[in-house]
């Protein structure tokens, strides 16, 4: 099929950036969206032009590296799907597709479609862990965890840290990402000792990184490729309030 691509081109962080239009004649419907970009880049290199820079690695929807804003939606039109897992059979012959990078003050563009998401790592450093040193753990079955809670913790932990939630949000809030980690660890018995400091520190770091505040619109949930539910945000808010109101009281 024939596809027209309008792609955001930006040399570096300082450059203002602009769209360029490309025509692709032989797009196969079994191709993934990124494979279509491989074909585009092959074409550009052969024409002596600069290929489009984009992030990707696993191409299996799990590493969270790919990050394209496709026709106004992070990761494109398909629910619960990363860009790398989006296949061209979901587009039609003759379509024009607009592709941009994630746009958020806390995710500066490095080049073309590549952005800097290191803010997420710094939020994790602020508290997204359980402080236990190697070698000191009790037997794994010494602490039973109710299956429901374990399953819920797993659902939260399925976040791939891609940043689509931020890109989807008109306030560029990172609350879905942050709340998923807070919820995962708050649901597990292992996460209890640091439960309060964790939520306070992670939220403080999130604010410091320049992410906007959450106004409960829900675009993040709608666009999350792993379908992380917004109920985790409510949970994180409760955790936050509790920690603020009674930082020293036991649960």
């Amino acid at each position: 099929m024939h596809i027209t691509l309008k792609v955001w081109r930006q040399k570096n962080q300082q450059d203002r950036g602009h769209f360029e239009t490309y025509q692709l004649d032989q797009v196969n419907e079994d191709m993934s969206f990124l494979e279509m970009f491989d074909v585009l880049n092959d074409q550009l290199i052969r024409e002596g032009k600069d290929p489009v820079a984009f992030d990707h690695d696993c191409r299996e929807g799990i590493c969270g590296m790919c990050s394209m804003y496709i026709n106004g939606r992070p990761h494109g039109p398909l629910k619960g799907t990363t860009t790398c897992q989006l296949h061209m059979r979901h587009f039609k012959d003759g379509d024009t597709i607009v592709v941009e990078p994630w746009r958020a003050a806390a995710f500066p563009v490095i080049k073309d479609l590549v952005v800097d998401r290191s803010a997420f790592d710094r939020i994790m450093q602020a508290g997204g862990f359980i402080s236990v040193n190697t070698g000191s753990a009790p037997d794994a079955n010494a602490i039973p965890v109710e299956k429901d809670k374990a399953d819920a913790a797993f659902a939260a932990a399925a976040c791939i840290g891609c940043g689509a939630c931020v890109a989807a949000c008109k306030n560029s809030s990172a609350m879905l990402f942050v709340s998923a980690k807070i919820a995962q660890l708050a649901l597990l018995p292992q996460g209890q000792p640091e439960r309060k400091t964790r939520v306070l520190n992670m939220i403080a770091q999130m604010d410091k990184e320049g992410f906007g505040s959450c106004s409960n619109i829900g675009s993040c949930e709608a666009e999350c490729p792993k379908e992380i539910p917004i109920t985790f945000i409510a949970k994180a808010n409760r955790e936050y309030l509790q920690a603020m109101l009674a930082p020293d009281l036991p649960e």
Partner: protein
């Protein structure tokens, strides 16, 4: 050089204990003065960074992705083994050890494998403590399943996302150390070369992938945890960026490369669909717990799989290997699938695929669920629906992934699968302490050759990566560093750094100056095709000789005709790929040389000339019971060093899964 594996004295089960009791220690005050470099943030690198920093060492870690959480380990699906015997089904440290030695077709070191089995249990304890949400039973305790080549249930899992959950656990432990100031992370950095001073590894040259700058980093020891080299085949289940550069550069500086031809072809992957294809997607081995592999008994059967009745199906794994059935090891399952397809029984448009069918499992689970829920006479549809729910809980994300890629719903119709390159057992030679032949240079995880012999069992790579990082290196590195406490901070002004940096710069300038006609991918694809056709699932002497000359010719053409756009002083993914492909083009030749020299079949290395009458691998223990460790000479020739393998506890026999 005489290869000394430094295997401790004593009986097999006492070796590691004895080693730990007597190994040299470094005091906390001295640890704070010692710098370590770790290349890689997968399970091996992240766990090593966390545990070494906890001990007090100062650690710098490097990865080429934008965040350490995205290392390729994140993609591991099915599970991690440990000899917990929580299922009361007869598992033990010895059995895990035995299964691994046998699964590896008697080409690994007993002492290493025993240690791996021993520390496996502590890995699960630690990961649970880190908050890894493993699957659990209704009673709240951990659930298990089976993987190929074993008859117990010892695999721990988190749906089909076990690697993700384990890596996020190790990553968060490492991030905690970043916050404490003990670890510094260099993301979007690629190690380009190793720096050696007075015979010891003392640092690396890294390229900042955003600015293109070359940076010098010094340390008292360097640990490579840079993953496997499966992408030498172009199409593989590995992530796009997985590469051999760090290990290969170390090899060129003197680290021996062991058993490079032991490359694992995984039986259950989504078949290739077109020329544009950039990678292959694995369907986890855990699916073979419940999926049955079959082809039609009739050639070119035009019917849909669901229309072919039971007695016209050939469940060829169950037929050939009744004792292990669908759960035979990967090498065996892959060859059996290839055999059926080569004989003309393959299915799908390319005829290069077999079915993986979940219908019986859905029925079985459905019955059990109906019983549990007290539904007396459930209809067939109800049973299937209940069964489907159980299957979805176990493998939901894999089924979705399959449907997304192929457009077919595997709950309704069997999956079509075919073998694909997946894992590399070969890698840098290391001794019992995980040290390479360069003093102060260690290799951990998939980038070393250590524990899996000629074939790795499923769910054992995650175990090995975390064993190396959490529980082995924190002990063994002390033995080296204890003698380094008087060594001051490594200065990057040393001429060895300047020399290495110059070498890197020269290679980059050379690549940028060619400005030929073909893209990097063009060469990579070609290389992959040569390797798959002539050094893939089966190999023969003539094919390997042809492959070697074709690789040489391709390499020559690459250096004359590759075209890299852009500049070297900015983000340039084509330049990154070019450097990696340049190294693959060298490694590929060594893989073929190794495959050609090993005149036997063992594990994943199947030489057509050496097989039993019924098509099984025919080992030659008299001549080849050794690790082949290759020394780099000039890029044309390699010197072979043999490390003989002594089997004191397990006696090699013909591996049988019948």
């Amino acid at each position: 050089m005489e290869l000394d594996a430094k295997i401790p004295q004593g009986t097999l089960s006492d070796k590691w204990k004895h080693y730990k009791d007597t190994v040299k220690l470094v005091s906390p005050a001295n640890k704070r003065r010692l710098d370590l470099i770790i290349v890689g943030t997968g399970l091996a690198g992240a766990s090593a960074a966390a545990s070494l920093a906890e001990l007090g060492y100062h650690v710098k870690v490097f990865c080429f992705q934008d965040s350490p959480r995205r290392a390729h380990s994140i993609a591991a699906q099915g599970g991690i083994n440990a000899a917990k015997n929580y299922q009361n089904d007869g598992d033990s440290v010895f059995r895990l050890f035995y299964d691994t030695i046998k699964g590896g077709d008697y080409r690994s070191r007993e002492a290493n494998v025993y240690r791996l089995a021993e520390v496996s249990t502590a890995i699960i304890d630690h990961c649970v403590a880190l908050g890894v949400p493993f699957a659990r039973e209704y009673g709240g305790l951990l659930a298990n399943r089976s993987f190929g080549g074993v008859q117990v249930q010892r695999t721990f899992y988190a749906a089909g996302q076990t690697g993700q959950q384990l890596l996020l656990g190790a990553y968060s432990a490492m991030q905690r150390q970043v916050a404490l100031g003990n670890v510094e992370v260099f993301a979007r950095h690629e190690m380009m070369d190793l720096v050696i001073i007075d015979g010891k590894a003392r640092g690396i040259i890294a390229r900042n992938l955003v600015t293109g700058e070359l940076e010098r980093h010094g340390a008292h020891a360097v640990l490579l945890a840079s993953g496997g080299y499966g992408n030498v085949f172009y199409l593989s289940t590995n992530a796009m960026g997985s590469n051999v550069t760090a290990a290969w550069k170390a090899h060129k500086r003197g680290a021996y490369f062991a058993n490079p031809c032991f490359t694992q072809i995984h039986p259950t992957c989504i078949p290739v669909s077109g020329d544009y294809q950039s990678k292959l997607t694995l369907m986890s081995e855990s699916l073979r717990n419940d999926g049955r592999v079959w082809v039609p008994k009739k050639k070119d059967d035009p019917r849909k799989p669901t229309e072919i009745p039971e007695d016209e199906r050939d469940y060829f794994l169950e037929r050939r290997y009744p004792a292990f059935g669908n759960l035979v090891p990967r090498d065996v399952a892959s060859r059996a699938a290839k055999e059926r397809c080569d004989a003309g029984f393959g299915v799908g448009p390319s005829k290069m695929a077999v079915y993986l069918d979940f219908r019986s499992a859905m029925e079985r689970y459905g019955h059990a669920e109906a019983h549990r829920l007290g539904i007396a006479d459930a209809s067939e549809a109800k049973i299937l629906e209940l069964g489907k729910q159980i299957i979805a809980e176990k493998y939901g994300n894999l089924f979705e992934m399959y449907e997304r890629i192929t457009g077919e719903n595997p709950y309704e119709t069997p999956m079509r699968i075919y073998p694909a390159v997946h894992y590399t057992m070969g890698g840098l030679w290391v001794d019992y302490e995980l040290m390479t032949t360069i003093p102060g240079l260690y290799a951990l995880g998939e980038c070393n050759f250590s524990d899996h012999g000629a074939n790795r069992l499923g769910a054992s790579a995650l175990m090995q990566g975390l064993a190396d990082g959490f529980f082995v290196i924190p002990y063994t590195i002390g033995n080296y560093l204890a003698d380094e406490i008087r060594t001051p901070k490594i200065s990057t002004d040393h001429p060895a750094f300047a020399e290495a940096e110059h070498r890197v710069k020269e290679q980059i300038d050379r690549l940028m100056s060619i400005q030929g006609k073909e893209t990097v991918d063009y060469f990579h694809r070609h290389l992959g095709k040569i390797m798959w056709d002539k050094c893939g699932m089966s190999r023969n002497a003539q094919g390997l000789q042809e492959a070697i000359s074709e690789i040489r010719a391709l390499r020559e053409e690459f250096w004359k005709n590759v075209r890299i756009p852009g500049t070297a002083d900015s983000l340039n993914p084509e330049l990154e790929k070019a450097g990696r492909v340049a190294d693959f083009l060298e490694l590929a030749e060594l893989i073929c040389i190794d495959a050609l020299h090993r005149n036997e079949s063992c594990g994943a290395h199947f030489r057509e000339e050496y097989q039993t009458p019924d098509g099984e691998a025919l080992r030659d223990d008299e001549h080849f019971a050794y690790v082949a460790a290759w020394e780099y000479r000039d890029g044309k020739e390699y010197t072979l060093h043999q490390e003989p393998l002594h089997f004191e506890v397990v006696h090699p026999t013909q591996r049988s899964y019948k």
